[in-house]
Amino acid sequence: MSSATALSWFARHELRLAWREWFAMMTGGRRKRTRAAIIGLVCFAALLHLPAWAVIGRFAELQLPLDKSSLIVISATIFLAWTLMLSQAIESVTRVFYARADLDLIMSSPATLANLFSVRIAAIALTVTMMALLFSTPFIDVLVIGGGARWLTAFGVVVALGLSGAAIAIAVTILLFRLIGPARTRLIAQILAAIIGAGFVIALQVAAIMSYGTLSRFTILTSGTLAAYAPDVDSIWWWPARAVMGDNGALLLLLALALVLLGSVMAVFSHRFADTAIDAAAYGTSGTRRAKQRPFRTGSRQQALRRKEFSLLWRDPWLISQTLMQLLYLVPPALLLWRNFADSSAALTLITPVIVMAAGQLAGGLAWLTISGEDAPDLVATAPLTPSNLIRAKIEVVLIAVAVIFCPLVAALAFASPYQAAISAGAVIVSAASATAIQLWFRVQARRSQFRRRQTSSRLATIAEAFSSIGWAATAALLLALPVAGLISGLITASLVAVTWKFSPRRE
């Protein structure tokens, strides 16, 4: 087999693996669900056109040349999309490094490793780009339908963003390996991915709050101050925005830059990719992380269970990165609270739904980890505890963790507005309890490491959990602004949770 044939064969192998992994994630690993997954995906893509129309439909008529403010808004949106792709790419690259899977086979084969890992880098870039295309297609469709075929160049921009994001992600992750070693890279990379994904939006919100006292990030983007400092309209910095709007020359340059960047990363890092992967695999088997020596602690059986759950949650890199992201999203409302401490402005009301939504989301994730993600199910099932005591201890862990994170915010809110604090506290409790209950009704036996795929085990539970958090957040906001509407929203959300219970496998 020639070198080129071997490479194309390996590329096909990589793409097949990527496709099957993605497909298994969509179908929950059940082949019988294939048709349902395809129908669901088509429906989801079709439905996504509605919010896409609502968000950017009105911009379809925009034409070049644009003023600075419009260029700033479009460029910021493109940059936001790029940071999200970068975040996704860092997560993918870290996963590839730490998943041992076929590493032994590849390393022991007589093929040129640098070539094989170049293909693997390209496959990562392609996967990230495909995911970005999947999510951006409804938005671009809306622009094409409303503004004409010139918007089709936006697809090219998405490809350029995906390729460059993947290239940067690979370089960053390998550099992290070199700088801090494999033991810390996994955690730091996940935290980095979370910060990058949320950081740009939060930074804009923080700037808007500090300058204008509002949570809206568009306030800062459309401000005259920013336009005054921005480069001229014919600057290189506006290429992505111009490329999106149909400037073919700018698009070609962007694509060329992205390909050069990816090619350079492949040339420089494909040799180190192998070393890095070996280091990661060796880290997985060496297990040198040590815990402090301390005497055994006293307490009830439930306390032992709670202590174990807290230890595992605390030592879970994924959870730490996700919690950090939740906390990051809470920074703008906390800042708004601090800035408007003395008055009870309408802006302050915005804090409540953000807190309630975050509490529901966090509780759902924690509940899955503690209730379904039990790594020693036989041990716990053969322990002399009744199932109800067991579940109660696990639920307590979720609620205590949520309380520790959200109590300070609600307490601070109580100084500014006791009524709003009371509504927020109640909604946080109900939102967290609803998300936990949904996870309890739809619990499955799984390993904690399968958390990424938790959504695939039950689509109904995933959707219900999301709608429950959104519903309770809306209820809390409406109770503050329009109590009657809040009551109606609360009833609708409670009904939704009840319907979820009706369809749950644990109803009996």
């Binding site: 992380r289 815990a291 055994f296 202590r307 790594d375 041990l379 322990a383 002399p384």
Partner: protein
């Protein structure tokens, strides 16, 4: 009745009257009948080996005894406690070790043992020295403060076994505990189980390694297609087969192929 069998290490095994486990009419059906009206009695202080071909119903039987599966019919009594009516009391005196060691990657062996002891309500003053001794005797003392995520399968199996022993159970049920263990680790585990039996503990173990059953077990039960097709000491099994010199392997093959042929 109290009897004795000569063991390879010269130890005489006592068989008291009381039964540690009494199973009557145990039945479980999945797609097919996995366990079919099984009756089984294991005496207190006995080392009992349950052998059988793949899919014979060994693991299903023991999972029902351990409270991990609800039987469709039948009863399970552990030291006189009805395990189906009062599972908590039955679990208090019992330990279960599965073939796939299920431990927490992010805990150290010592933290794992602290957790298990806490679940069984053992006072730290009692459980901590026991845990340290167990880790030493299993060769895990140098790793007791390392997280289990980097452990080999053998080390993980030893941690799981230590977890089963830390609360000093009267009945230990092990499903293929020697799978994946190297010779040294396997000897450690066998030695530890032998010590427990000598101390009065009852051990029930499934195994594919007939040599282990032959060397360690006081009595051997042969299960096939959900039925107990033969049971007794090795001598009794040989007598049943009518050939005093036959090996357990030959006996096993003769016994398990009979139901299939029928």
């Amino acid at each position: 009745m109290v009897g004795s069998d000569a063991k390879p290490d010269g130890m005489a095994v006592m068989k008291p009257d009381s039964s540690a486990l009494e199973v009557l009419g145990l039945t479980k059906r999945f797609d097919r009948l996995a366990v079919d009206s099984l009756d089984l009695t294991v005496h207190a202080g006995e080392f009992y080996a349950l052998v059988g071909p793949n899919g014979a119903g060994k693991t299903t039987t023991l999972r029902m005894v351990a409270g991990l599966l609800r039987p469709d019919a039948g009863s399970v009594s552990i030291f006189g406690i009805d395990a189906l009516q009062d599972p908590v009391a039955a679990k208090q005196v019992m330990a279960w070790v599965s073939d796939e060691p299920m431990i927490y990657d992010k805990l150290t062996p010592l933290e794992y043992l602290e957790f298990v002891a806490g679940l069984w309500g053992i006072a730290p003053s009692v459980s901590e020295p026991v845990a340290q001794d167990l880790l030493s005797s299993l060769g895990l003392a140098p790793h007791r403060h390392e997280r289990c995520e980097g452990f080999s399968k053998g080390m993980r199996q030893k941690v799981a076994l230590a977890g089963a022993l830390v609360h000093d159970p009267r009945l230990i049920i092990l499903d293929e505990p020697l799978t994946g263990l190297d010779a040294v680790s396997a000897r450690h585990v066998k030695g530890l189980l032998g010590e427990r039996v000598r101390a009065g503990c009852t051990v029930i173990m499934t195994t594919h390694i007939l040599e282990v059953a032959e060397r360690m077990a006081d009595r051997i039960g042969v299960i096939a297609s959900g039925h107990l097709v033969a049971e007794g000491t090795l001598t009794e099994l040989r007598q049943q087969n009518g050939d005093a010199d036959t090996s357990l392997e030959d006996l096993f093959i003769a016994l398990v192929t009979l139901p299939e042929a029928a």
